[in-house]
Every structure is written in structure tokens, then in C-alpha cells.
């Protein structure tokens, strides 16, 4: 059971929900950056939400199926997705026949989209996850992005099939213009914290899976750069001396020396993966009880996120 890569897309990697419980030895989490969209794709296919899938960044692949398979594409809205010559929809199960070619082009808005399969991608497992971590070449397909001409192998997964009903997506829009946060441990190093919540931040081209960087609008921070490195996670917002906040991403390092001014709330951390270069966004400060409520609401809307 195989598909062949005809076109790769900008940065297409195999991801699951990440490498958990290895941060104490310095191994980053990795995993799908917009894990809500990723989990959704698997849930729609009635598969365990941790099943490996392809994460596409800005542009996606063309894949030739050498076997019948079902797929589901979620996340950023793709300009055009076709199977052979017919357009197909996102957020729904699509049958792809043996010999057919699935083609994706470019994300119209937001950044990452996910292609999940009814069968399980055979990828390298390391510390209980097949997520690709490019900087150290862990997991995925040889620790790398998918390559043109590559054959991706699949294994049968009957035993893994979900017992529940497949998820039916209501097509809720991804909204990244406002990211809710709580105060971080070094929040008090901000000179005038109110400015932070009145500033339009602009996503930098230098952003990647390690972190979403910002440009232009600087916030005043009182830091001499001498802090001893502190624990950090995906979703923590660091602010270096230059005043340009960095939101740490799925591949975030585990220790860092810049002030941790904010943390994106658990209910919205998946949105960081959809911030696209030149997008504008603001931070909105909420309390810990509000952050807990937001998570409860997300669980009501998407019951499968209990496992996240």
C-alpha cells in the first residue's frame, strides 16, 4: 500500500500529536502545529486523533495513489484541491481510487493544512511518536520533508478503527486576529504592559515551527539579557531585548533565556500554527478561570480534544 509523491509542497512533513514526556531530556514536542485541525481530520475519518498525517505549509503536495484510500483535508483553506480533474471539498471524507492523483495548491488564508488517510503512514517512531523534527532529523520519513518521487508506505489499521461515530465538521472558521493569553512568569519585566495589548503584531517571514516571530512593532521590555535559561513550551511568548515577541511553536526548544511574558491559553494554542507571514494579530489578556472556561467550551464543541 503506497502513495507516490509527484510534487512536495513547500514543507510537507509527517506529524502526529507530538512527542510527549521527553522535554526533561531536551527533546521538543513537535507534532501537528494546528493540532485541532489535525485531530479533526482523523476524527472525520473515524481514526484515532493521534494517527500520523501530512502537515502542509502554504503549498501542498500532489500524490498518486497506488491503492484505494479515504482522505480528509482540514486546516487552512486551500485554493484548489482536485482528485484527477474534479474539485473536492475540505473537512469531509473523500474516496480516492487506485491510480488517481490528489493535487493541492496554495493556502488562500492561514498557513497549514492537513491531509489525513484512512490507513496508517509508515514512519520512524522515536520516543513514542512519529512526528518529524527537522532540526535533528527525528521521526517522520527519514526525519525529513517528503521528497519528490518518494513512495510513502501505509499499513492496514483495522484494529485501530475508532469505535465512535465519525466526526462531522460544522466548518467553523479559523480566526487568528485575536490570540488570548495569560500572564507569563516574567510578565513584570514589561515596562508598560498595557501597550502590549494595544499593539498590532505582524507575523515575520522568519517564523517556522520553532517559533512565530514578529516584526516592526516593538514593546518596551526591561531585560539585560542575563536571565538564566528557563523552561519553555509551545505557546509561551518570549520577548527578547529587541521588543519583538516570539510565540513558541510545536518544535520549541525546552529551555530559553528570554523573558516569558505571556502564555497562549490552552484552548487557542493550535491557532499559532495558522499565523501566516504578514498576518496582523493582537494579544488579549484573560484570567486563569477564563482560560479554563475556554478549554471547557472547546471540549464541548470538539469532544475528541479531551485527549489533547
Amino acid at each position: 500500500m503506497t502513495i507516490q509523491v509527484l510534487k512536495t509542497g513547500l514543507q510537507t512533513t509527517v506529524q502526529d500529536l507530538g512527542r510527549m514526556r521527553s522535554k526533561h531530556i531536551g527533546i521538543p514536542q513537535s507534532g501537528s502545529f494546528d493540532y485541532l485541525s489535525a485531530a479533526k481530520a482523523n476524527a472525520i475519518l473515524n481514526r484515532p486523533i493521534n494517527s500520523p498525517l501530512l502537515e502542509c505549509t502554504m503549498t501542498g503536495p500532489s500524490l498518486k495513489f497506488l491503492e484505494d484510500m479515504d482522505v480528509c483535508i482540514t486546516g487552512a483553506t486551500v485554493n484548489q484541491i482536485t482528485v484527477d480533474d474534479s474539485s473536492i471539498n475540505q473537512n469531509t471524507l473523500v474516496h480516492v481510487k487506485k491510480g488517481s492523483i490528489l493535487s493541492t495548491d496554495i493556502a488562500k488564508d492561514h498557513l497549514r493544512f492537513y491531509i489525513a488517510f484512512s490507513k496508517s503512514i509508515q514512519a520512524t517512531e522515536f520516543l513514542n511518536s512519529v512526528s518529524t523534527y527537522l532540526p535533528a532529523k527525528f521521526g517522520g520519513l527519514n526525519g525529513a520533508t517528503i521528497q519528490k518521487g518518494q513512495m510513502i508506505d501505509f499499513k492496514e489499521t483495522q484494529s485501530e478503527a475508532y469505535t465512535g461515530d465519525p466526526w462531522i465538521e460544522n466548518g467553523e472558521r479559523i480566526e487568528t486576529s485575536k490570540i488570548r493569553v495569560t500572564q507569563g512568569p516574567e510578565f513584570n519585566l514589561l515596562d508598560a504592559s498595557s501597550v502590549l495589548f494595544e499593539t498590532d503584531f505582524i507575523v515575520s517571514n522568519d517564523s517556522n515551527r520553532m517559533g512565530v516571530r514578529t516584526v516592526d512593532n516593538r514593546i518596551p521590555i526591561n531585560d539585560q539579557g542575563s536571565m538564566i535559561s528557563k523552561p519553555i513550551y509551545p505557546g509561551i511568548v518570549q520577548c527578547p531585548q529587541d521588543g519583538l515577541p516570539i510565540i513558541l511553536g510545536a518544535d520549541a526548544q525546552t529551555l530559553g533565556g528570554y523573558p516569558r511574558i505571556l502564555q497562549v491559553i490552552k484552548a487557542e494554542r493550535h491557532l499559532i500554527g495558522q499565523l501566516r507571514p504578514n498576518d496582523h494579530f493582537r494579544f488579549e489578556l484573560v484570567s486563569i478561570p477564563e482560560a479554563l472556561d475556554a478549554w471547557e467550551n472547546l471540549k464541548i464543541n470538539y469532544p475528541f480534544v479531551c485527549e489533547l
Partner: protein, 232 residues
């Protein structure tokens, strides 16, 4: 700052701060000579006490992030109270790491030599003759923070971090020296490289360099470097 904090006493003094809906930080007041080792083993103990948490130890704080929220502080407290540092082996691993300081590996050595007004020989002599201890592990996979570096050769981080460093690069910054075991991005000036692979976690995630490990360096030539590398 933190929303609330509570002080408690166990066999060591701990302050737990609630940072966010799924994050706590612990600060200990240990007069222990081996503080970083204490932190790291306590972090590992906490991790093993619950399946749904992540734990990271830095040199002065332990951070816990929980999958299940709201977090159950009682569980953390009870794990803290069952930690016995005396049960951790007090015999520290000792490791001699060979380092080659030849130009080809030492991208920033000449610049540092100018900055400090010391010869490259003086810098590498100071670096290789001291004894170090692993203070923390993390940042990127396989990176270890070793201290304390002689203040005579203390330099700041690079103003612009490198996108990638060569596997095994040996770097210094402030009072720490570190090894980029797996390469990756890095902001510390590089003065050498080791041919030894110090990072090969098995599936249980156990690694060679953990806080508390005593490290010494040994200067090697390019020929020795190549010979040792071929044995990996």
C-alpha cells in the same frame, strides 16, 4: 506575576507558583551543594508520578505543564513529599570529553581571542584544564549546560544566533560551556568540536549527560579527532 503561590515545607522548602491554567513552577530552597542534580532528579521523579504531565528542570526552577486541567496540586504535593534525594545515587558519573580546538571546528575562537586579548592557545588551555558539572540539559536535543566556566574566558552570546551548528560543536557563553551534540540552531560562540556522540537516547529516553555528571575535557589533535570519529 503568578496568580497565587503557596509556600509549603517538605524535607526541603518549596514554593509552588500557579503560572497558567496548565502550568506550575516550583522553586526550591535547597542549600544542597548539588542543586542542579537535585532539580533534575526531582523533575524526573515528578514526571514518573503522573502520566499526563510534562516536566522541565532548569538550573533554578522546575516547570510542570499538565494535559489535564484544572491541575491537581495535591498530586504534585504528594509526589514532592515522596521524593528522597538520598535514594538517588550519590556517585556521579565522570566523563572525559575529547575536544579538538583546530580552526576548522572553532568558528569563533579567533574573534574571542581578539575580544579577550588572550591567545587562542591561552583560551583553549583555560577551557580544557578546568573541571565542570552538567548544570542543565535542554534547549535543543542533546545540548548540555556545563559550568562554571573560568570568568577569564567569559564572553556573551552571539548577537545573531546561527541557524545551524555542526554536530558536536563546543561553545561557550557567560559562565557556561556547552556541546551541540546533534547540531541544530545555536547562539553561543563556537571554539571546538568533539568527535564523540554523547546523545543516543534509547526508547526509554535515558541519556549520557544528566545534571550532576562531572566532566573534564581533553585536547586532541585533528588526527585523533578523525580516528575517534571513524570509531563511532
Amino acid at each position: 506575576m503568578a496568580a497565587k503561590s503557596l509556600a509549603m515545607s517538605f524535607n526541603f522548602n518549596t514554593k509552588i507558583s500557579v503560572i497558567a491554567e496548565d502550568m506550575l513552577e516550583l522553586r526550591l530552597h535547597v542549600s544542597h551543594i548539588n542543586k542542579s542534580k537535585f532539580y533534575w532528579h526531582l523533575a524526573e521523579h515528578l514526571l514518573n508520578s503522573q502520566n499526563d504531565i510534562e516536566v522541565i528542570a532548569s538550573e533554578e526552577v522546575i516547570s510542570i505543564r499538565s494535559k489535564v486541567i484544572p491541575m491537581d496540586i495535591n498530586k504534585i504535593e504528594s509526589a514532592l513529599s515522596s521524593f528522597e534525594f538520598s535514594l538517588i545515587s550519590q556517585i556521579d558519573h565522570k566523563l572525559e570529553i575529547p575536544i579538538c580546538y583546530e580552526d576548522v571546528f572553532a568558528s569563533d575562537l579567533k574573534e574571542i581571542s581578539k575580544q579577550l586579548n588572550l591567545s587562542t592557545q591561552e583560551i583553549t588551555d583555560i577551557h580544557s584544564s578546568a573541571s565542570y558539572e552538567v548544570k542543565a540539559i535542554g534547549f535543543t536535543p542533546g545540548f548540555s549546560y556545563l559550568g562554571d566556566l573560568d570568568e577569564k574566558i567569559a564572553v556573551p552570546r552571539l548577537s545573531k544566533p546561527r541557524v545551524s551548528t555542526a554536530v558536536g560543536s563546543v561553545a561557550i557563553a557567560n559562565d557556561r560551556t556547552g556541546i551541540y551534540c546533534l547540531g541544530g540552531p545555536g547562539g553561543w560562540p563556537i571554539i571546538g568540536a568533539t568527535p564523540i556522540n554523547l546523545f543516543n537516547p534509547d526508547d526509554t529516553g535515558s541519556v549520557t549527560l544528566i545534571p550532576g555528571t562531572k566532566v573534564t575535557f581533553k585536547k586532541i589533535s585533528m588526527e585523533e579527532f578523525i580516528m575517534m570519529q571513524s570509531r563511532n
